[in-house]
């Protein structure tokens, strides 16, 4: 009868002994945990979409005509410090590209000389792929000698950043509310278990059990019911995603394994905290008697 198997058996015994109460708490926990679970799936998909958009985030540095090679090299050198990929597009290449896009060079032939500037197309290091960094970089680069203009799609990048920030803030809010709900549900369920098993705990204490010996199974009980509820919430969310997959053009992806483990782990920790609250409350009630 190893210590861990004893703890798990005791926890299970407690849950089984009050199975009606356990089931009610379990349903409440699954309902509560479904909300962050669905949100996490939305968040993961949004994050993945944002990252794929982010990969396309590009800064274009237009150069003045007829700058000496040394100035161009100087600009290129400075850009390489912040870029993970850089491409030089000469005036002629820009001309060819435009001609290709317009489907012929008849219109361009009307212009006497090539009006298009040479440019650098810069894919930045991930650390710079947000509005404030790109805005600051563009201002710095545009001041460099030989630079005509810097374009980076500031408005939509700012909107993307704001969207991500809103998702994060909403996530924190949901986590806080659901955390409180889980604590409340587990604390009450465990409190009722403690009260119902008070006589048994007294016998244990008379036989020489320490507080830890009596209480540890109750922590496991809180953790176990919360972790199982988190697993059930994940399962239900997975079925929802499967259902949606048949109706949506873009196949939504489910949570990565690490996220799922973290979700179940976080629920278990909340369950333990709920048990702690319950035991503290029962202790206060006992002392006030």
């Amino acid at each position: 009868m190893g210590r861990i198997s004893y703890l798990l058996r005791e926890a299970w015994r407690g849950l089984w002994h009050h199975r009606a109460l356990t089931f009610t708490a379990f349903l409440a926990l699954v309902g509560a945990l479904l909300v962050p679970c669905v949100f996490l799936v939305v968040f993961v998909n949004a994050l993945s979409a944002v990252h794929s958009l982010g990969d396309r985030r590009e800064m274009v540095v237009f150069l003045r005509d007829d700058i000496p090679d040394s100035t161009r090299q100087n600009i290129e050198h400075r850009l390489r410090l912040v870029a993970r990929e850089i491409k030089y597009v000469s005036k002629d290449q820009a001309w060819d590209e435009m001609a290709q896009e317009l489907g012929g060079d008849e219109l361009l032939r009307a212009v006497n000389e090539n009006p298009l500037p040479a440019s650098y197309r810069v894919k930045l290091e991930p650390v710079y792929l947000h509005y404030s960094a790109m805005d600051s970089l563009s201002q710095t680069i545009s001041l460099a000698s030989g630079v005509e203009e810097v374009q980076y799609g500031g408005l939509w990048i700012r909107r993307l950043d704001e969207f991500l920030q809103t998702l994060r803030t909403t996530g924190i809010g949901i986590a806080a509310i659901i955390g409180a709900v889980v604590l409340f549900v587990v604390a009450n369920a465990i409190r009722l278990t403690v009260v119902a098993r008070r006589d048994i705990h007294r016998v244990m204490v008379l036989l020489g059990a320490s507080r830890r010996f009596v209480r540890l199974p109750l922590f496991f009980e809180g953790a176990l019911v919360s972790a199982i509820a988190a697993g059930a919430a994940l399962g239900i969310t997975y079925l929802i995603v499967l259902g949606l997959a048949n109706r949506l053009v873009v196949l939504p992806s489910f949570l990565p394994w690490r996220w799922m483990l973290a979700f179940v782990g976080a629920a278990a920790v909340l369950g333990m905290l709920g048990s702690t609250l319950a035991l503290a409350r029962v202790g206060r009630e006992d002392r006030s008697r």
Binding site: M1, G2, H17, I200, V203, M204, L206, L207, G208, S210
Partner: protein, 228 residues
Amino acid sequence: MIRFAGVSKRFGSKEALAGVSWEVPAGERVVVLGASGSGKTTLLRLITMELLPTAGVVQVGDFSSQRLSGGKRIRLRRSLGIVFEDLRLIPDRNVNDNVALALQVRGTWDRKRVLERVHEALARVGMAERGHDPPSALSAGERQRVAVARALVASPAIVVADEPTRHLSSEPVDVILDALRETQATVVLATNDESVARAFGGKLYRLANGHLEPAGASLGAGATTGVA
């Protein structure tokens, strides 16, 4: 060793024990005989320090009622084997698990060792075959025997038995008395049945009106009294 020095215990206006001074040397067997309500259970609960005296000092081994921290109380309880008057078996554990609990609270977790000792203790009271039964499947007398096995399984230094034959109806008393007698521990047995007291043997005390008095000469171990 158990020592009571001028111990009184009051419950409101009722004085359950009045200035009891008493000493039980280590390894001795004593019987406290008294009528129902005479204070036997109070006396035993003072030994287990489930209760503390209103006046005087109780000393059990190295533990004194005057300086009893939470940790000391736990260590004291681990040195005791207690047979409760109301048995206090845990209903949702089988017999093996009930008896094993006394070892587990003392930190013995090795599965094989625990089961061996549990089996041995149950065999001493003739219950080895009922290890997997829940208490609800046992007769009152069988539950009593399991409670005795739980008190003895950890080889405690002191055994405190409150009416350990009370629930026996058709079963022989000797099984329980023999098990208690064979232990090397100091044994304090409280009963209201004089025949049980004489059958158990050891030093006899009478408790009446809160006063504990020696009842003549020691009784021979296992004196024949016709108790069955």
